[in-house]
């Protein structure tokens, strides 16, 4: 230990700037982007990083720290308490974090300080902060600088800015200074209806009148009054109690609309039906039915569904697979980077906190829906441009995945104007956990009275307070600033490393994550198992002083898990945590008394009956009314230039290469990724399902896919959902997956996460006049889910619904199209038997597998003509099953040289994509059929593939497929795509030209 480090009471600044002879890549990028996106020419640009140390430290230690810990002598010049200034630069821009937001780089600098100087008596809160500074050659105007600050380099919800002409000093420090007020108020809910509603609005509770009345009635109940009086509690609920109820009863946590009683009227047939909970009627019932069938067939891989943070299925005797996909839409609309980052590190914690916990995180998958990057409409106040949302979200996923060492192996991006208000950001994580810890099933959550409640990981601040209730509201003018937060992948990586070890040592009894609703939600949920819990909030470590007790309880500060431990193992657990530099706090214990009790300084500030907390929320009643849209097929102009059509299709945002995004994600860390998103000679060829191996000493693998088709819903919401389901299934079949088989059981699991993202579907005569139709669409999407799942015996194991995807400003509303994403994982015994999508060699024969129909509604081809059409592609389950069964046989018999599913853009696009993997061309001859040529080429009928077969296997292949395969040509050495219909040549173009059109880039 060194003494005397803490001395002079000044704030110290250390600045690093690049030496003149070293490239300043960051500054160059800023200069380029300013010009490109904002037509602002800042001239030569220079960047700098400022470290602000708010602890008093004597000058000579500051120098040691600056020169030894911070400076890279080869590239940095160092300035101490005198910032870089030069006449060369006329203007500047400083970007700092707002108080309380994650500043990982400051924390890392602080760790480096401690490693170097080993100081005594420094506080355990943050006292080194970072700020970025940019110097511009040109004297940019205030408004130009403001635009660069707010639209390119920062976000007013996250950052503090200073700009203008630099005077050499920085005043701002982002340390949080709050006046502590740990008062607990009781709130009078014995008031008339209008005041109840006002209360809900004022406190951002997001509860409706019936829910507020339920609370009022509970506290007016004689038993409640007596019990509270006996305990010396206020008759009226405390602020903490109201907040806990609001969190627990939020749409996010209780899925009130998915559990509502729905009256559904079909306006065409006049039929009226009642649906008591979409979740129970379609989602849970389909899985229950499949589960029974599987059990009857002697297959026991479906282990845990819906009841934990993630579903669990069995890989083999020793291992189970856990996974979860969910959304983080609203935060991503406000702060795309932080929203997506917390989305991905947040969903990591679901498999990590399933059952006992401590599973090894194996992969991420992300599906994103944005407005188009060239969106031209005027932006509403607070609405970010789609390009900016996209680049922020992608950076967030990049950091969230890469810095956690989890490969992002698969995904999809969909563009549509209606995602320009709220993007959809689906994040998923799969993990592998030992099947047993110390003889216990790892997926069971066992908690006994007396077990300790341990909070692990990050500290608690004001971050994300009201996140759960906020996500249940549309984005409006009063969206709370505290809903924005930034994750810290490094904090979580340390924690997940620690949990894996601790679980393996049998020191963890159960665990769960702290997500929406924070501790109130995680402990409130866990408390149901033993029947009660006591929490001591003053034992929760804080990022900074000054939080109210209820804020501590509902804060959604990231990177925290709640662990349940037998007190017997506390010492070992705390010691291991010390080694991994993970902070643990013992904050209470479980009981069987039936109450969630919260203490602060030994005073009870909340005491809630668990039954009321979890089951007291009144059931919603909603109305749905179906009326078909009035649609017609377009009158297409005569198509003369198919080369041009194909080039334009390949360049469409929904089809063009995602390489700009894919390469920013590490998709092969862990060394287990077998089919990556892009494969082939130059890594250009897009693939269907991702394939991962599970271990280095076996050949077992996972096949991972997604299906999403929002546009079809404009014609037929049932088919939209069915097509999305089919897309996910056929991607897995394409690479070599096997459907569940009840007769000749192969015991290979399938597991699905369903994610519904819909606009507000609750009817309101003024605010949401078409609410009934929207709800009818949601019902139909669920019907398709049920039909498809039970037909193929592919079960939902977990999922999520996001119900208010609307962006409202000043009377204008941008609503997402009702969307469902199916994310699937299937097991394979041998990843070496999988097949990639790109063609392999000239001379191979090319086939279309499956039947093509004239159903181009919602196709990319029709969209070239700005038409929607009336005939949506239909999933024909029997036909799909027949084709898939043949594909499975072809895989088993090793008959396929390549297989690529036919999706957006139809056959023509699939052919082009499969050609991008090598250096050859294709000679294609389509037969004249009843279908018009454009339908053969561009129809997006589901359940189809383009496959290639070596000539030696032609006979065997055709014998398997019969009428379900159509030989269309062969691969040639000449790198051209030549395609004719009967005698009529339609396409003749170099593959390189197609490739260039397709690789037009997304500029993220």
């Amino acid at each position: 230990m060194r003494k005397g480090i803490v001395q002079s009471p000044t704030i110290n600044h250390i600045q690093l700037v690049k030496k003149e002879n070293v490239a300043d890549t960051l500054a160059d990028q800023v200069q380029e982007s300013a010009l490109k996106y904002f037509r602002i020419d800042p001239g030569k640009t220079k960047s700098g990083k400022i470290f602000t140390i708010v602890q008093p430290v004597s000058e000579h230690y500051i120098r040691d720290f600056a020169y030894q810990s911070l400076q890279d002598t080869i590239i940095h010049d160092v300035y101490i308490n005198r910032l870089y200034q030069s006449d060369q630069y006329q203007s500047y821009l400083l970007i700092a974090k707002l108080p309380g937001l994650t500043d990982d780089e400051g924390i890392s600098a602080q760790k480096a300080f401690i490693d170097l100087l080993n100081p005594q008596d420094v506080p355990d809160t943050q006292w080194i902060f970072t700020q970025d500074i940019f110097y511009f050659e040109q004297a940019l105007t205030e408004s130009q600088l403001q635009q660069l600050a707010e639209e390119l380099l920062g976000n007013p919800l996250v950052n503090h800015f200073e700009y203008g002409s630099f005077n050499g000093t920085v005043q701002y420090t982002p340390d949080v200074r709050l006046h502590t007020s740990d008062d607990v108020q009781s709130i009078d809910v014995n008031v008339p209806n209008e005041q109840l509603q006002q209360l809900s609005r004022d406190l951002l509770l997001a509860l409706d009148l019936k829910e507020m009345q339920a609370i009022k009635n509970h506290f007016a109940n004689q038993e409640t009054i007596r019990a509270r009086k006996d305990r010396g509690l206020s008759a009226m609920p405390t602020d903490c109690e109201l907040e806990v109820l609001a969190q627990t009863w939020s749409e996010h946590c209780k899925h009130k609309e998915f559990n509502a009683l729905i009256t559904y009227t079909d306006r065409h047939s006049g039929e009226v039906k009642t649906i008591d909970s979409l979740f129970k009627t379609y989602i849970k019932r389909s899985t229950d039915m499949i589960s029974k069938r599987l059990e009857k067939a002697g297959q026991h891989w479906l282990l845990k569904v819906f009841s934990d943070n993630a579903g669990v299925v069995r890989i083999n005797q020793d291992k189970v697979f856990i996974w979860k996909v969910e959304t983080h839409n609203s935060p991503s609309a406000l702060d795309p980077y932080g929203g997506a980052l917390t989305g991905i590190v947040g969903v990591n914690r679901d498999p990590l906190g399933t059952g006992i916990g401590g599973g090894k995180l194996l992969f991420n998958t992300d599906v994103l829906c944005f407005g188009p990057p060239d969106y031209q409409k005027t932006l509403l106040p607070g609405q970010l441009h789609p390009r900016r949302i996209m680049s922020g979200v992608i950076k967030g996923i990049e950091d969230g995945g890469n810095k956690s060492g989890i490969p992002t192996v698969n995904g999809s991006v969909v563009f549509d104007d209606r995602f320009a208000g709220k993007p959809l950001v689906f994040c998923g994580t799969g993990a592998v956990m030992p099947a047993r810890y110390n003889g216990r099933n790892s997926w069971d959550k066992i908690i006994d009275p007396g077990d300790r409640i341990i909070m692990a990981g990050g500290r608690v601040g004001k971050d994300g307070i009201h996140g759960a209730t906020f996500s249940s509201l549309e984005i409006g003018d009063h969206s709370p600033r505290s809903a924005v937060q930034i994750g810290s992948p490094i904090t979580q990586k340390n924690m997940s490393d620690f949990m894996e070890r601790a679980a393996a040592a049998n020191w963890i009894k159960s665990s769960t994550d702290n997500g929406a609703g924070g501790l109130s939600s995680s402990i409130g949920e866990l408390a149901r198992i033993p029947g009660g819990a006591v929490v001591e909030l003053d034992r929760v470590p804080l990022k900074y002083a000054g939080l109210k007790p209820w804020e501590i309880f509902v804060s959604e500060s990231q990177e925290r898990m709640t662990l349940v431990i037998d007190p017997h193992y506390a010492d070992e657990l705390f010691e291991l945590a010390g080694e991994f530099e993970v902070e643990l706090s013992d904050i209470g214990y479980f009981t069987d008394e039936g109450f969630l009790q919260v203490l602060y300084d030994q005073k009870t500030i909340a005491w809630l009956d668990l039954d009321f907390l979890h089951d007291g929320v009144p059931k919603k009643q909603l109305t749905a009314e179906w009326q078909k849209p009035q649609l017609s097929e377009p009158k297409l102009p005569e198509i003369t230039d198919y080369n041009d059509i194909l080039m334009r299709l390949l360049g469409r945002f929904n089809i063009r290469s995602r390489e700009d995004i894919i390469r920013r994600y590490d998709h092969e860390v862990k060394g287990k990724t077998i089919i990556k998103p892009l494969m082939g000679r130059h890594g250009y060829a897009p693939q269907d399902a991702a394939v991962m191996r599970i271990d280095f000493d076996s050949h077992e693998g996972l096949l991972i896919s997604n299906g999403i088709k929002p546009r079809i819903g404009d014609i037929d919401p049932y088919q939209m959902s069915a097509n999305a389901f089919d897309e996910a299934v056929r991607s897995i079949i394409s690479v070599g997956g096997r459907l569940p088989d009840l007769e000749n059981g192969h015991d290979l699991f399938w597991t699905v996460n369903d994610n519904f993202c819909v606009p507000d579907s609750v009817y309101h005569p003024q605010n949401n006049p078409d609410g009934k139709i929207k709800l009818a669409k949601l019902v139909q999407m669920n019907e398709a889910l049920y039909d498809m799942a039970t037909f193929f015996n592919i079960p939902m194991t977990s999922g999520k619904d996001s119900m208010k995807n609307d962006f409202i400003r000043g009377g204008t509303k941008i609503s997402v199209p009702p969307t469902i994403l199916y994310s699937m994982v299937a097991q394979t015994n041998d990843y070496r038997q999988t097949v990639t999508a790109e063609f392999k060699a000239s001379g191979d024969l090319i086939y279309v597998v499956g039947q093509t129909y004239n159903e181009l509604g919602a196709s990319e081809f029709y969209q070239l003509f700005e038409a929607l059409g009336a005939h949506a592609p239909r999933v024909r389950p029997q036909e799909a099953l027949r084709v898939y069964t043949k594909m499975m046989r072809a895989h088993t018999d090793n008959l396929l040289a390549s297989s690529h599913d036919i999706s957006d853009g139809g056959l023509a696009v699939a052919l082009a994509e499969a050609l991008f993997g090598g250096q050859f061309g294709a000679d294609i001859k389509l037969h004249e059929t009843r279908l018009p040529g454009y339908a053969q080429l561009f129809s997006e009928s589901p359940s189809r593939f383009v496959v290639s077969v070596t000539p030696q296997k032609q006979q065997a292949f055709e014998a398997v497929f019969g009428e379900d395969c159509h030989k269309i040509g062969r691969l040639t050495q000449e790198p051209r795509l030549k395609l004719s219909l009967g005698d009529q040549p339609l396409i003749d173009i170099q593959v390189d030209q197609l490739l260039n059109a397709w690789r037009a880039g997304l500029e993220v």
Partner: protein
């Protein structure tokens, strides 16, 4: 004959390629132990019980302060429980004839600690690894050519290697021209990014970051220390290669081994044959 060869694989703080690296050593016939860096500081594990010290890839401390900066600071400035600096224990480990491998973040750490290229023999920092010319992280496969004049057991019998790079900060810069010249003169630039003709190239994307000398990997003069930006532990199986579908089809002799594994086999072999190695 490789019995008793022991590889220590460091993890913690956001290092994340430790498992595949340990798997690589096991496939190569060695024992591998994954150890949190703090377990070395606390004395639970000792370098002297191993012959190969490995710094795998990852994002130690989230790349804050520059990739591997905080990690290398810790090794240079933080004392172990026995009161030594870890960097001194590493110096002893090297002079005892042992080997060190650093990949990606591990290579960045070796360079920032001055362990590579270490021309001055005093662990002064002589180079750095900083932001790619593209300014962004990228995952892509590159071809690396082995400097035929380099002497390092790690690269025995290897001429061209296809491996993935996965980094945002992979551009190697030398402190000055003298250092760069010494590196070339002593053939320490053992691995270069090459074009389709196998020639070192400054052109993107074959050269993914714009490194000085087109350098993808360095050895020290003893040949005992090897660091590289590409990931050999990510190519242990043919099925890691992005073009495995084609390779499998056109391969005359089916070989499911990935090229990256050869580096680990080489070094395990070298240890087993080393004069210092005492088989247990």
């Amino acid at each position: 004959m490789t019995d008793g060869v022991r590889a220590l694989v460091v993890t913690g703080y956001g290092i994340n390629c430790e498992e595949e690296m340990a798997a690589a050593y096991r496939m190569a016939g060695a024992e591998a132990k994954i150890v949190h860096l703090n377990e070395i500081f606390s004395g639970q594990y000792r370098l002297q019980d191993y012959q190969i010290l490995n710094f795998p890839g990852g994002f130690s401390f989230g790349d804050d302060l520059g990739a591997a900066k905080v990690l290398s600071n810790k090794i240079k400035y933080k004392k172990t429980v026995r009161g030594h600096y870890l960097i001194d224990e590493i110096g002893k480990f090297i002079s005892d004839g042992n080997y060190i491998l650093g990949v990606c973040n591990g290579f960045q750490a070796l360079v920032k600690m001055g362990i590579l290229p270490n021309i001055g023999k005093n662990f002064d920092q002589e180079a750095t690894i900083t932001f790619n010319n593209s300014g962004r992280f990228e995952d892509r496969w590159v071809t690396c050519g082995v400097n035929p004049q380099s002497e390092s057991s790690f690269l025995n019998d290897l001429k061209l290697l296809e491996l993935p790079v996965r980094h945002g900060e992979g551009k190697l810069l030398f402190k000055n021209e003298d250092i760069a010249r010494s590196v070339v003169q002593n053939h320490l630039n053992t691995l270069s990014y090459v074009d389709e003709q196998g020639k070192p190239t400054p052109h993107y994307p074959q050269n993914p970051n714009g490194s000085q000398l087109n350098c993808a990997g360095l050895v020290d003069e003893s040949g005992q220390i090897f660091g590289l930006m590409p990931h050999p532990e990510a190519f242990l199986s043919l099925y890691n290669h992005p073009n495995w579908g084609w390779l499998k089809r056109h391969q005359t002799e089916p070989d499911e081994e990935g090229q990256g594994l050869q580096i680990f086999k080489n070094i395990v072999q070298a240890v087993a044959q080393s004069e210092y190695f005492v088989q247990p």
